[in-house]
């Protein structure tokens, strides 16, 4: 299946990306405000302005501008950032690994906590551990990642100063990295001090991102586990003499995880969206932090590049989720 399905999904992604690029392009341009004027020192002449407009491809009609932009984008050139005066693609690719590492770490944490909480809740059905899990869950769902991030900073960064509250790696370590994937690189090259420092920087933003997701996974997985536990094959597993714990993990979890997986895929979108703010709060050098600055500076080429890279991430994640259905549900494989 995989080959043709993969191809079909990739083809489907093209119009989505095209749509996103058009929407962003138009949205960014129809509104009033002149980014060029913001770049120039006060007292610059109209000629200076016109020259800059040409330099950034901002003269001509919006359709013309889009065609030019698209043509260049297809060749891998997304223009030059107005505020940072660097190539957009380079800027985005330079920051992307930081965000990906953070998002993946947060997702792993959320899934681990969510699966554990859901299975323990089902194991102790109707007893106090389940009540406790439900109560914590309700609270976690109500509090947004924004507040979690600040509360973490306050508690573990200031009141009990055990963790760094900003940045990605301590510059005093003086570590040089060959790629943007610091954590993976440090792990591969077995530099444990560096790994520890990277994790210390990532742990709080990752928790802030993971908590709401973990709560949602717990809720959905617990419901579908409860449903699966009422199935005949679970009863048969009990009659086979297996323990409740084993039954939950071996018999029920795989069947129950499909709705939770769908949800994790959808929620990953929100998680990546959440990185925008959490990165800002923790001064973490990822594309989210960059996106806020780009928006505030009205850096049109950079905004476009960033939004498109968000769109690509969503498409890839949804693709991965679709593909993993087959692993969980043998009926979808044929």
């Amino acid at each position: 299946m995989s080959g043709s399905l993969l191809l079909r999904r990739l083809v489907q992604a093209v119009p989505t990306l095209f749509g996103v690029s058009v929407v962003v392009f138009v949205l960014v341009r129809v509104v009033p405000g002149n980014p060029i004027a913001m770049m120039l020192p006060p007292g610059a002449s109209l000629e200076d302005m016109e020259r800059l407009r040409q330099a950034y491809g901002l003269d001509g009609s919006i359709v013309e501008q889009y065609v030019i932009w698209l043509g260049q984008a297809l060749q891998g050139s997304f223009g030059t950032s107005i505020s940072l005066r660097q190539d957009v693609l380079e800027l985005v690719l330079g920051r992307l690994p930081a965000t990906l590492e953070l998002a993946v770490l947060a997702t792993i944490m959320a899934v681990t906590v969510g699966v554990l909480a859901a299975t323990v809740g089902i194991l102790f059905r109707g007893r106090w551990p389940e009540t406790l899990i439900d109560a914590i869950n309700g609270f976690t769902l109500a509090v947004p990642d924004f507040i979690w991030a600040l509360a973490l900073i306050l508690v573990f960064g200031v009141l009990l100063p055990v963790l760094p509250i900003s940045g990605r790696v301590d510059p005093r370590l003086g570590t040089e990295f060959a790629t943007g994937f610091y954590l993976i690189e440090a792990l591969v090259s077995v530099r444990f001090t560096v790994v520890g420092d990277l994790l210390a920087h990532m742990i709080m933003p990752a928790i802030a991102l993971a908590l709401p997701l973990a709560a949602i996974i717990t809720r959905v997985l617990k419901n579908s586990l409860a449903e699966a536990m009422a199935q005949d094959y679970v009863m048969i597993a009990r009659v086979k003499g297996f323990s409740r714990w084993r039954i939950i993990w071996v018999e029920a979890l795989r069947n129950a995880s499909i709705p939770a997986l769908t949800l994790t895929g959808v929620q990953f979108t929100f998680l990546v969206g959440g990185t925008v703010l959490v990165e800002k709060i923790f001064s973490y050098p990822g594309i989210g932090n960059m996106a806020i600055d780009a928006v505030i500076n009205r850096d049109l080429p950079l905004i476009q590049g960033l939004i498109l890279s968000f769109a690509v991430i969503f498409i890839v994640v949804n693709l991965l989720v679709d593909l993993s259905y087959g692993l969980l549900n043998p009926r979808l494989r044929t």
């Binding site: 989505t16 749509g19 996103v20 929407v23 949205l27 960014v28 509104v31 405000g33 309700g138 609270f139 769902l141 109500a142 509090v143 947004p144 924004f146 507040i147 600040l150 509360a151 900073i153 306050l154 960064g157 200031v158 009141l159 509250i165 979108t269 929100f270 990546v272 969206g273 959440g274 925008v276 703010l277 800002k280 709060i281 989210g288 996106a291 806020i292 928006v295 505030i296 009205r298 905004i303 939004i307 968000f310 769109a311 969503f314």
Partner: protein, 278 residues
């Protein structure tokens, strides 16, 4: 026993909100000092329980020497305005589009549903920041941004509920009884989706408070002079090592407001659920 539980939620949640609303309305009377008054001698003054506190500044002062308590009280106003206005407007827009899509079906439904799909594929926080950056800062833009982003939440729920309701038999009975389509929509369908919409409204109001806080944290809400909880958090974040309380108090208030709204929503959900009510 269910009655007692729902009472507890509605009373605690609603009560906390009422107190916050009263604080916002009576802000000029309650605030001990002018929230904009700067006094550089009081810079980063600690709250009352710490040594060298000033009794006239119960919760201390921020980096410009402004009174934290007075700013907190005044900042309840923009939060409340955004929660109510953005919440209600979002509800109206989303519900109207949802009813339209669910009840009319056909092309209208296709167009609206497709819009919902496109909308929800953007990360909402980024979309909000982008919209406000484009429309310009200020309370109006914050409200517009929330409405433009979050109408999908109501639309989606109301649409599917309307579809479910219109398939039920009593609608057929009403059509046979000679009611016009519009009349059916308002007399038969709307009352049935209303409980759901009210519960969603409490959720939306808590989201509005958070979005306002986020936008003022990023510096895109009202001007940085007039106090907002989010703005205070942003200022507090700068001086967190010297004066953690500048950030902690507004955070606490946002948390209380959000939890109260969630509690109220939960309570209303059980209280308004027609199945449980009967």
């Amino acid at each position: 026993m269910t009655g007692a539980r729902l009472n507890w939620r509605i009373v605690v949640g609603g009560g906390a909100l009422l107190v916050l609303a009263l604080i916002a309305i009576a802000a000029p009377l309650l605030a001990p000092v002018d929230p904009l008054e700067q006094d550089l001698f009081l810079e980063l003054l600690p709250p009352w329980w710490q040594a060298d506190a000033d009794p006239t500044r119960a919760l201390g002062a921020d980096s410009l020497g402004r009174d934290v308590l007075s700013r907190l009280i005044h900042a309840a106003r923009p939060a409340l305005i955004v929660a109510v206005v953005a919440g209600v407007l979002t509800m109206l827009l989303g519900t109207a589009l949802g009813l339209l899509a669910g009840y009319m079906g056909g092309m209208i439904d296709v167009v609206i549903s497709r819009m919902v799909d496109i909308w929800t594929s953007f990360p909402p926080v980024l979309l909000a920041i982008m919209l406000v950056a484009l429309i310009g800062t200020g309370l109006h833009s914050v409200i517009i941004a929330i409405v433009l982003i979050d109408w999908t939440r109501f639309c989606r729920v109301v649409r599917s509920e309307t579809l479910a309701q219109t398939e039920m038999e009593y609608i057929d009975a009403a059509v046979i009884g000679g009611l016009k389509r519009g009349a059916i929509l308002f007399r038969e369908v709307l009352p049935n989706v209303l409980p759901l919409v009210i519960v969603l409204l409490t959720l939306e109001m808590s989201i509005a408070i958070i979005v306002e806080a986020i936008l003022s944290f990023v510096g895109l809400s009202v001007s940085s002079d007039s106090p907002t909880w989010g703005g205070m958090i942003a200022e507090g974040r700068q001086v967190i090592h010297q004066a953690w309380w500048v950030m902690a108090f507004p955070m606490g208030l946002i948390l209380i407001a959000v939890l109260a709204l969630n509690l109220l929503g939960d309570g209303l959900k059980t209280a308004l659920d027609p199945v449980l009510r009967r």
